[in-house]
C-alpha cells in the first residue's frame, strides 16, 4: 500500500469559455470558467492523475453532526425518531479513521458524543457507542443555531486534519438568538469548516438554512418528509467522505484600470462570490471555493476593462487556483485560465454571446425570478408574483431545467411555458413552496 508522507491533491484543470470579441468602445468581458478536479478514483479521465488515495483510504477528515433537539422536534414524535435514525445512518457512512462528534442543538449546544470537548475516531466500536448515545437525544428547548456552529468549530479545530465538515439539521426558526448573532457566528466559522444544512418539515426559515450553507460553502435542501432523512444523511456523508482537498480558492488577477463586476458560481448552483473576495496582492484577489472531491463546477466572471482601439488585444483576467497554507503562503495548483478582450469592427463576431455565458446568465436570472416571485407572492402582490414566476417558467423551459420546471408547476398553473404565461395556484402546499425556494439556485449545464 502506498503511503504518502504528504497528502497529494487531485489534479485541477481550468477551462475558459468566452467570446473575446468586443465592439468599438466595448468594455464588458464575460467568461464562464469550468474548474474540474480529478484524480481521486475517477476512471477514464484524460488526465494522467495518479489515484491519490487507495480504496477505503482517504484524507484525514473530521465531521460534526449537529442535530436539532428543540421542543418542536417532538411534533410529530416521528421527527425526532427520524432525526436519530438519520444521524445513525450518517455515522454508519463514516470512513474508519475519520474524527467525528455529535452535537445536540437547542438554545444551547450540547455534546452528545463523545463529549469532553473531544472528537472520536471512527471504528466499529465508536460507531456503536455514538449510535447508543443517540438514544439519549430528547426534544426540549429552543433554537440558537449560532451556538451549535461555534461548538462544532471548537470541536473540529481540535483535530489536525485536512477536511473539516459539518452537517446541520434543523426543524425550526432560529428564534433564541438574533439574526446578528447567527451572522457573527457564521462569519467566525467561514473558511474554518464547510457545512451542509437541512431543514426538516416546513416550520423552518428557508433563508436561514440556505444562508448557513452559503456562508459555509455547503449545500442546502429541504427534507419535507422526515422519513427521507436517513437516505439524505447517508448521501451527504458520502459526499463529505469524497472530499480530498479543502480551502481551494479561485485567484483572479486583473490588469490596472479594470474592475471586477462579479464572480459567481453558476453550476451546480448559483452562489454569489463577488463580496467574498480577499485581496492577495496588486490587482489580485481570492474567492473561496471550499473543499473538492472529484467534481466540476462552473463560474461566471464579469470584468470591466478600459476600451481600447479596434484591433487591440488585452488580457482581461488571469485565473488560477490556490490553497492557503497554515503558514500564510499559498500552494498554486498549476492550472490557469486566461480571459481575453479583442476589439474588432466585425459586428458578427462582437455581437455574438457565447452560448455558455448566455445559458448561465439565464440560469442566474431564473434563480432570481423564483426568489423575487415567491417574495412578492408572500407580500400579496399577485400581479408581480405572476410576472416573475411566469418568467421563471419560461427560462426553466427554454434552458431544459426540468427539475426546476417541475417544482414551479406545483406553485403555478402553466398556461404556455414558451411565453411564460402562468396563473398562480390558489392553494399551494407549504412544502412545495419551500422546496422551490430552497432549490431555486440549482442549475443545469448547457444542453448538448
Amino acid at each position: 500500500m502506498a503511503i504518502f508522507s504528504k497528502p497529494n491533491v487531485p489534479q485541477f484543470s481550468v477551462d475558459v469559455y468566452q467570446n473575446e470579441y468586443l465592439p468599438e468602445g466595448g468594455s464588458e468581458v464575460n467568461a464562464i470558467v469550468t474548474v474540474t478536479a480529478t484524480g481521486g478514483g475517477t476512471i477514464g479521465s484524460a488526465l494522467t492523475a495518479p489515484h491519490v488515495y487507495s480504496p477505503g483510504e482517504g484524507p484525514s477528515a473530521a465531521v460534526v453532526l449537529m442535530v436539532d433537539c428543540s421542543g418542536s422536534m417532538d411534533y410529530p414524535p416521528t421527527k425526532m425518531r427520524n432525526a436519530r435514525d438519520a444521524t445513525a445512518a450518517a455515522i454508519d457512512a463514516l470512513r474508519d479513521g475519520v474524527h467525528f462528534a455529535v452535537v445536540g442543538g437547542t438554545h444551547v449546544a450540547k455534546e452528545v458524543y463523545p463529549g469532553a470537548g473531544e472528537l472520536a475516531v471512527a471504528d466499529a466500536a465508536t460507531r456503536d457507542q455514538a449510535k447508543e448515545a443517540l438514544r439519549k437525544l430528547s426534544a426540549g428547548g429552543g433554537t440558537a443555531i449560532g451556538t451549535w456552529l461555534r461548538l462544532a468549530d471548537r470541536l473540529l479545530a481540535s483535530a489536525d486534519v485536512a477536511i473539516r465538515h459539518g452537517i446541520l439539521l434543523t426543524d425550526g426558526r432560529n428564534e433564541h438568538e438574533s439574526p446578528e448573532d447567527l451572522k457573527v457566528a457564521l462569519d467566525s466559522c467561514a473558511g474554518r469548516f464547510t457545512c451542509d444544512a437541512r431543514g426538516v418539515g416546513t416550520d423552518w426559515e428557508v433563508k436561514e438554512v440556505t444562508g448557513i450553507a452559503s456562508a459555509l460553502l455547503g449545500t442546502a435542501d429541504i427534507v419535507a418528509d422526515p422519513s427521507g432523512l436517513a437516505a439524505d444523511f447517508t448521501q451527504m456523508m458520502e459526499t463529505a467522505m469524497g472530499k480530498e482537498v479543502a480551502d481551494v480558492s479561485l485567484r483572479l488577477w486583473t490588469p490596472v484600470g479594470t474592475a471586477v463586476k462579479f464572480v459567481k458560481q453558476v453550476a451546480p448552483t448559483v452562489e454569489e462570490l463577488t463580496g467574498r473576495r480577499t485581496e492577495t496582492g496588486p490587482r489580485a484577489g481570492d474567492y473561496p471555493l471550499g473543499s473538492w472531491g472529484d467534481e466540476s463546477r462552473d463560474y461566471h466572471v464579469c470584468v470591466e476593462v478600459p476600451p481600447a482601439g479596434i484591433g487591440r488585444e488585452m488580457l482581461a483576467a488571469r485565473l488560477s487556483l490556490v490553497i492557503a497554507q497554515p503558514d500564510g503562503s499559498v500552494q498554486n495548483l498549476g492550472a490557469q485560465g486566461l480571459v481575453r478582450a479583442v476589439w474588432t469592427d466585425d459586428m458578427a463576431a462582437s455581437t455574438a454571446i457565447h452560448p455558455q455565458v448566455a445559458h448561465y446568465t439565464g440560469q442566474a436570472e431564473l434563480a432570481h425570478a423564483i426568489q423575487e416571485g415567491l417574495d412578492l407572492r408572500k407580500a400579496g402582490d399577485i400581479d408581480g408574483a405572476t410576472a416573475k414566476l411566469g418568467r421563471a417558467v419560461q427560462l426553466a423551459s427554454a434552458s431544459g431545467n426540468a427539475d426546476t420546471a417541475k417544482l414551479l408547476a406545483k406553485v403555478v398553473d402553466v398556461v404556455d411555458a414558451a411565453t411564460g404565461t402562468v396563473r398562480l395556484k390558489a392553494k399551494v402546499e407549504e412544502a412545495d413552496e419551500m422546496t422551490l425556494e430552497t432549490r431555486s439556485t440549482k442549475t443545469v449545464r448547457v444542453k448538448k
Binding site: 486583473t254 490588469p255 490596472v256 484600470g257 479594470t258 476593462v305 481600447a308 482601439g309 479596434i310 484591433g311 487591440r312 488585444e313 488585452m314 488580457l315 482581461a316 486566461l338 479583442v342 476589439w343 474588432t344 469592427d345
Partner: protein, 319 residues
C-alpha cells in the same frame, strides 16, 4: 530583442517593458503584467529587402493580427541571368488558422520557384508548379489539425488563403494567382499606361466577366469581395491562373493583397500612389504604399511587394 527591464525588477529574466503602458513587464503569455495589453507580435509588421526587390506587411488598424504573409527572393537562371521572385498571400479570415495558411503558402511557393528557376523550368510553368506546391502546403495544415481547435469546433473549416506571385527576369514578367490578391504593372515612365495583371477570383469579377453587372455596380455589392477561388482543403478544384508578359520598358510590379488595392483599385490609382523612384528604392516604395492604406483607414492587413523590371544582375543572388 528583449529590452533591458527597468526599475527594481529582479534581473535574470530579461522581460520586455510593455509598449502600451511602458510600466509593466511582459509575462510568459505575451501580456503586460500591469495593463494586460497584448504585445506586438513579430508578424504585426514585417519588412524585407532582398537585392533589387522588397516587401512590407502590416497588421493594419482594424484587425487584431496579421494574416497576410509574403516571400521574396532572387536567383539566377541556367544562363546566369538574374530572376526576382515575390509571393504574397492573404489568409481567409472566415476559415481557421488563416495566418498559418498564408505563411505556409508563401514559403512553399517561393521555395518552389527559387528551386525550379535555376533548373531551367520555364518561369510560367514554375509559377504554376509553385501555386500547386503552396496549395499542398495549406492542405497539409488541415491534415495536421490543432487538436484544441478541433475539439472546440470539429466542424470548423480547414485553413485557406489567397496567393499572388511574380517572377521577373531580364525580358519576361510572369504572374500567377488564386483569389483576389493582385499584381499591377506601373512603368517608370508614367506617361505610359499602368495595368492590372490579374483577374480576381471574386464574386464581383465573375459578375462583370459574365456581363451580368457593370463594374461599379458589382463592386458596390456587399458580396463583391466574396472570393470564388483560394488555396486550402475546402477548395474542391484548384485552378492556378498564370500570365506571361514581355514589357517593352522598365517598370515595377506591385504584388499586393486587397488591404492595399482597396485604397487604389484601378491601375491608374495604383500608379498614382507608387513613388516615382519605386524601382530603385523598393523598400521605401513598399512602405509608402502600406502608409497609403493605413492613411485610408487600414481596415485590413496590408501587404505589398515591389519587383523592378527588368531584373538586373546583382553582386550576389540568394539561391
Amino acid at each position: 530583442m528583449a529590452a533591458e527591464p527597468v526599475g527594481q525588477h529582479s534581473a535574470g529574466d530579461a522581460a520586455a517593458v510593455c509598449v502600451a503602458c511602458r510600466a509593466g513587464r511582459v509575462d510568459d503569455d505575451g501580456y503586460c503584467e500591469n495593463c494586460g495589453h497584448a504585445q506586438p507580435r513579430e508578424r504585426d509588421h514585417m519588412e524585407q529587402e532582398c537585392g533589387p526587390l522588397a516587401a512590407v506587411s502590416d497588421r493594419g488598424l482594424r484587425h487584431h493580427r496579421n494574416e497576410d504573409a509574403f516571400g521574396v527572393g532572387t536567383t539566377a537562371l541556367p544562363d546566369g541571368s538574374p530572376a526576382s521572385v515575390a509571393i504574397v498571400c492573404d489568409g481567409v479570415s472566415s476559415a481557421t488558422r488563416p495566418d498559418e495558411a498564408s505563411a505556409a503558402a508563401s514559403r512553399a511557393a517561393s521555395e518552389s520557384l527559387l528551386a525550379a528557376l535555376p533548373r531551367g523550368t520555364h518561369p510560367q510553368q514554375a509559377m504554376h508548379d509553385a501555386i500547386i506546391a503552396a496549395s499542398d502546403a495549406v492542405n497539409a495544415l488541415a491534415d495536421a489539425p490543432d487538436p484544441a481547435a478541433r475539439e472546440q469546433d470539429p466542424h470548423q473549416n480547414a485553413p485557406a488563403c489567397t496567393i499572388v506571385g511574380a517572377v521577373v527576369t531580364q525580358g519576361l514578367l510572369v504572374v500567377g494567382w488564386v483569389g483576389d490578391s493582385r499584381a499591377y504593372w506601373v512603368p517608370v515612365d508614367r506617361s505610359a499606361p499602368a495595368a492590372r495583371l490579374t483577374e480576381d477570383d471574386s464574386w464581383a469579377a465573375q459578375m462583370v466577366a459574365a456581363g451580368l453587372m457593370g463594374e461599379a455596380e458589382a463592386y458596390a455589392d456587399h458580396r463583391a469581395h466574396a472570393i470564388t477561388g483560394w488555396l486550402g482543403a475546402d477548395a474542391y478544384e484548384l485552378e492556378p491562373h498564370t500570365a506571361s508578359f514581355k514589357p517593352d520598358r522598365p517598370g515595377v510590379v506591385v504584388v499586393c493583397t486587397d488591404g492595399l488595392w482597396n485604397y487604389a483599385e484601378s491601375a491608374d490609382d495604383m500608379a498614382e500612389v507608387v513613388p516615382a523612384d519605386a524601382a530603385v528604392r523598393p523598400l521605401h516604395g513598399a512602405r509608402v504604399l502600406v502608409g497609403h492604406a493605413l492613411d485610408g483607414g487600414g481596415h485590413d492587413n496590408v501587404t505589398v511587394a515591389l519587383v523592378p523590371f527588368p531584373a538586373v544582375p546583382q553582386g550576389a543572388g540568394s539561391a
